[in-house]
């Protein structure tokens, strides 16, 4: 070991003592990492879950063949779901609504908020395309009655209609509604709703999971929106777990997720 590293390590230890944190050397930490048992089939499942929830239907099919991992959702349903998602992302909201109803009319019937957001997106697209009269008519006939039922819908409606008041929407306070991110937001809401309806057909595993006392830690990560892909949640959890451990210990961290490089504790 070079003198430099010896000094660095000593400094780290001194700093840790000052804050009474436990120091875990790289060597000790690597031993702990090696003791962790990660099953290959679990990683395969994680990857499959990502492919399926993100809609990579061909890749999921190939992965099933190459790795023998069974997807937890019928792959045939991915294509339909992705078609809906893509329609919203491209601004074809009417088309998307029709497709959702073809899949399962109950999805929109039982989810007034989703339906409102889709209609709102439709209004946004009309405004974007400069169809002012059509937009006003649509807002009054389709959206206003829903706003009467629900205060937060009304506020969102007012905000959307405000787009019409500005000649230069790119500079107006509600201009972000016209941003691509608004479409993506609506699209992922529809995506999640369809996934939920599909997994309900498969059973109520989250609710059961949460009620069984023996359930593993952090299964609840996915309990809220069970159909977000698990991989991003686990990555967030890694960031969280590291910051939690930071409070008590100095140890080698992974700061760059995409290269997974273990870094020596910062001095």
């Amino acid at each position: 070991m070079s003198l430099f590293w010896i000094v660095i390590r000593q400094l780290a230890e001194i700093e840790a003592m000052a804050t009474s944190k436990k120091v875990i050397t790289r060597e000790e930490w690597e031993k702990k990492l090696n003791d962790v048992m990660i099953r290959k089939e679990d990683m395969n499942k994680l990857v499959m879950n990502f492919l399926v929830t993100e809609g990579y239907v061909d890749a999921a099919e190939k992965f099933r063949m190459e790795s023998g991992t069974e997807p937890d959702i019928d792959l045939a349903t991915i294509t339909d779901r992705m078609a809906v998602k893509k329609a919203v992302q491209c601004g074809n909201v009417e088309d998307a609504i029709e497709k959702v109803n073809d899949l399962n009319p109950e999805i929109l019937d039982t989810n007034p908020q989703l339906f409102f957001h889709l209609q709102q997106q439709r209004l946004i697209e009309l405004i974007r395309n400069g169809k002012v009269e059509e937009a006003l008519e649509f807002a009054q006939e389709e959206l206003a009655p829903r706003g009467e039922e629900n205060q937060s819908f009304l506020e969102e409606l007012e905000k959307t209609v405000a787009l019409l008041a500005f000649e230069d929407v790119s500079n107006c306070p509600v201009g972000d509604l016209l941003d691509i991110s608004q479409r993506l937001k609506t699209a992922s809401e529809v995506n999640a709703a369809i996934l939920t309806s599909q997994s309900h057909e498969k059973g109520c595993f989250w609710s059961k999971c949460m009620s069984s006392g023996t359930c593993a830690l952090f299964t609840h990560i996915y309990a809220g929106d069970s159909n977000d892909p698990k991989l991003p949640s686990l990555l967030k959890m890694l960031i969280w777990a590291q910051s939690q451990l930071d409070e008590k210990a100095v140890y080698p961290r992974i700061n760059d997720l995409s290269t997974a490089t273990l870094e020596d504790p910062a001095v």
Binding site: L217, F218, S226, I254
Partner: protein, 455 residues
């Protein structure tokens, strides 16, 4: 090949040898802890109270004179810690003369003639004044008083490190838990005819514990979900995983699809991602994986002899050993038992007596003993995961021939795996610093909790 490389090669082989053996005992290890089931009749303040024969209720039978004749009784076991929440309840059958009933938690050395909360290392919610006592003489304003016919609950939330109490099914409040070590559920009675029944979960609780747990989990989830990730990091990790293990067809479909999403996902590597290194021998790795997954071990051997002769040149290496074992297993799978015996004599017998190989050889040979080997104790050998381990080993061996391969771990673990190891290690470390309190993190259960048939 230099000796350095040979060493690396052996280490890699041994790693997978261990995996192959470990898979026989990789059942999910549940951490079972004993829970309190009844009251401890031995270590209670006898003389002042009577515990019923079922050890689930107590009654104060004398006239109290001072603060050192409290009738205290602990549960027979401390509250289990390896979970999110521990909780128990009492039902006040009779508030007696003064209603000086308390519920709480105490340490093992607690003085059994004092109210929980009056002494250090204890905490108690008292019925006569509704105050919460935490080891100081004076109580803190906490909740309502409680009396006959009330159901009172006491709990420990290990995630937030808090005690909490309930009255008739509603949370009264929570306080920081500053006591270390095992804690016993404790009840106290302190005036004539006070009678209390305790419920350690044998009966339904008045409080909706499941709902409370769900809410606590949700709170933590909210915090975590708010964390933002660098753009496309999940895509990148999945991609490097596919590259690492040589899932070439999946990779091609994935890349193709990535180009047509809205917005398209670019994998341009701005941070010097060492992609060139893992594209290394991608097609050969894919081919070998397919052969092994199909059980065509002879063909895999032939390809290896052709492409990477030095990987299979040493016939007593772990690599050759695992391939030979797999060949043997495949013969058993198709019922070619005679051939299997012959093959075993030629190729496996030489590994008998070598420590690191012995267990696996024995397990393989044991397959012959069963009419239905799948259902036997060595049935794990016939599972797909065993083929996968052999395929992963060959994959790692080939990766290690890459002159640019940086280190041993690079050949073994994908980025994804390194992150999952780090996550698990962080959770375990933090938990062990917390006196092993709270739930353990197990990726396996996180991923498998959604399986059908569990509902």
């Amino acid at each position: 090949m230099g000796s350095n490389n040979t060493n690396k090669n052996q280490d890699l082989g041994l790693y997978f040898l261990e995996m192959a053996r470990a898979s026989s005992s990789m059942g999910v290890e549940d951490e079972k802890e004993e829970s309190p089931m009844e009251l401890n009749t031995i270590n209670s303040s006898g003389g002042f109270l009577v515990v019923s024969p079922d050890k689930l209720s107590v009654k104060y039978t004398s006239v109290n004179l001072h603060g050192h004749d409290v009738g205290v009784v602990q549960a027979n076991k401390p509250a289990p810690v390896k979970r999110l929440i521990y909780y128990f309840e009492i039902y006040v059958k009779d508030a007696g003369a003064k209603g000086q009933i308390a519920i709480g938690f105490t340490s093992e050395t607690f003085k059994m003639r004092r109210q929980p909360g009056w002494e250090a290392n204890s905490c108690g919610y008292h019925g006569d004044d509704g105050l919460l006592y935490r080891g100081q003489g004076k109580g803190d304003t906490f909740g309502p008083t409680f009396t006959s016919n009330d159901t009172i609950g006491g709990g420990i939330n290990y995630a937030s490190q808090e005690f909490f109490f309930t009255k008739n099914g509603a949370v009264v409040g929570a306080v920081f838990k500053d006591i270390k070590g095992p804690l016993f559920p404790t009840i106290a009675v302190h005036s004539l005819n006070e009678e209390v029944q305790v419920n350690f979960g044998q009966k339904k609780f008045a409080f909706d514990l499941k709902e409370y747990e769900a809410q606590e989990r949700m709170k933590q989830q909210m915090t975590i979900e708010k964390i933002s990730l660098p753009p496309n990091v999940s895509h990148r990790l999945v991609r490097s995983y596919l590259l690492h293990y040589g899932y070439e067809d999946t990779l091609n479909s994935f890349d193709l699809a990535g180009k047509s999403t809205v917005p398209p996902i670019s994998f341009a590597q701005e941070n010097g991602f060492d992609e060139q290194d893992i594209v290394y021998a991608l097609n050969q790795r894919k081919t070998l994986r397919q052969l092994i997954r199909n059980g065509e071990i002879d063909a895999a051997f032939a390809k290896l002899h052709n492409w990477y002769p030095w990987i299979v040149q040493e016939d007593k290496s772990s690599t050759c050993f695992l391939l030979h074992c797999q060949k043997f297993i495949e013969l058993v799978r198709v019922g070619a038992l005679e051939e299997a015996v012959k093959y075993g004599r030629v190729e496996l017998a030489k590994f008998f007596g070598l420590d690191e190989f012995e267990n696996l050889v024995q397990d393989c040979v044991a397959l012959l003993a069963y009419e239905k080997p799948q259902e036997s104790s060595v049935g794990y050998l016939l599972e797909d995961s065993q083929r996968e381990i052999v395929a992963d080993m060959v994959n790692a061996m080939i990766l290690s021939t890459n002159p640019n391969a940086k280190d041993f771990h690079g050949c073994l673990h994908s980025y994804l795996e390194r992150l999952l190891r780090q996550l698990t290690a962080c959770c375990l470390e933090r938990r062990s610093m917390n006196g092993d309190q709270g739930e353990a993190f197990r990726l396996h259960r996180v991923l498998n909790s959604g399986k059908k048939g569990k509902c």
